[in-house]
Amino acid sequence: MAKQSIVPFGPQHPVLPEPIHLDLVLEDEVVVKAVPSIGFVHRGLEKLVETKDYKDYVYIAERVCGICSFGHGMGYCQCLEKIMNIEIPRRAAYLRTIWVEMSRVHSHLLWLGLLADAMGFESLFMQCWRLREKILDMFDATTGGRIIFSVNCVGGVLKDMDTGMLLKIVDTVNEMEKELRPIAEAFLRDLSVGTRLHGLGILKPDQARLMGAVGPMLRASGVAYDTRLLGYAAYNDLDFEPITAAEGDSFARCEVRIHEIYQSFSLIRQAVEKIPEGPICVPVKGNPNGEHFMRIEQPRGEAIYYVKANGTKFVERFRLRTPTTNNIPPMLDMLKGCQLADVPLLILTIDPCISCTER
């Protein structure tokens, strides 16, 4: 047996935009074991819920993560709306769906860029991020913020879009779909990208289930599991099927995410077509009392929100289980037996969001 050595990976590493530390136990160049240590971005913001007004906490919930910010705010608001028995206006539900799908497009494009960067494919990275700017421009035009836009509130949303704006969104989406095609082609057809991704980090369906993988990671292993099918916000009015791939390797994960971008485009178009007229927010009176549990499909997978309120304006407990928390155990499993040079790429394929995980 070869001699074992330990290589520290992170917290500061060129491929990682966020800090996570792994101790990689190696035999020659092959990883035998990976031991994670986290906590570099832990802020403790779940505890803040006890000292902030439940309506103000929406802004904190949106700052759990900068990438899926809108979804986190939405999850928190939906929990409180269920506790307080508030029926939000349909228009608000549709607007939330549009924004959350736009967030998915932006998140997946960001990930595609980072993946290309990890492979050393610089021009593809630049192309993905250039395309992503269009979505950020639409966020800027509709809400006034590029990354964190705080348009959620308990009882609906704060900003409306007029018909011109909705049509502009459809135009942008159509344009982006056209521009995405050559980029997707590069990921799915290019020989060098294929050689790098095919057969890397295979996760079998039962193993994925057992380890608790969620989101595109689980769907890439062939399990059609998508919490959007539960029909929160406006999803029960929209027509879509979960996207899956059979292979369960890194290429399948890339493929699933690319097809999900197209799916989000279609969902945005459908939502714009069906959006009803009406108010965007209902007035909220009184304080919440009770508890509720909510599941939402974030770009990285299923996120679980739990809120327990006690009748005062301060919520007693807010708990959030993020998708990356679930995807780390299967990632550690995948790392076993891979080459040291593949480690950064494999870590990226789960689309880690450390600030979500550690909050």
């Binding site: 802020r43 000292t51 993560c65 860029g113 991020w129 250039r130 700017e133």
Partner: protein
């Protein structure tokens, strides 16, 4: 903007931010904002970096990492705190695990406010940092010269 003697390299570290400022920092290096036109390259190596861009406040665990990164960078160096969390702790100021802004641990030269800080603001901050870097470099080389004479 001061005339630059050499291309400054940039190191980015996420102390404990929400990710929002990080993606904006990365965004600065992509075609729309293109910080590379100032000769800047985003490097992952603290030993070759001149500018340290830090996002997010300081917590117990990342404190030593930030100190280490700063000490590993060669003199002269500048630190840019990106985002309101890095400046003061921001919305997370009251969290039990946040000690405050980056300046509680290392000296900060430029503060870029915003939540999340916009790319334009980040570029502005970096350009200000370049001027400070140039001043520091002059002061540093003078000091070295005096040392050599003595």
């Amino acid at each position: 903007m001061a005339k630059l003697a050499k291309s400054p390299w940039l190191l980015h570290y996420d102390a404990s931010s929400c990710n929002g400022c990080d993606i904006e920092v990365l965004d600065c290096t992509t075609p729309r904002y293109d910080i590379e036109r100032f000769g800047i390259i985003n490097t992952g190596d603290p030993f070759q970096a001149d500018i340290l861009l830090i996002t997010g406040g300081i917590n117990n665990q990342c404190e030593s990492v930030v100190r280490q990164l700063y000490s590993q960078m060669p003199d002269p160096k500048v630190v840019v705190a990106v985002g309101i969390c890095a400046c003061t702790g921001g919305v997370f100021k009251d969290c039990y695990n946040i000690k405050g802004g980056v300046d509680t641990v290392i000296p900060v030269d430029v503060y870029v406010p915003g939540c999340a800080a916009r790319p334009q603001a980040i570029i502005d901050g970096v350009v200000k940092a370049l001027e400070i870097l140039e001043q520091k470099r002059e002061a540093y080389s003078e000091k070295q010269e005096q040392k050599g004479r003595a």
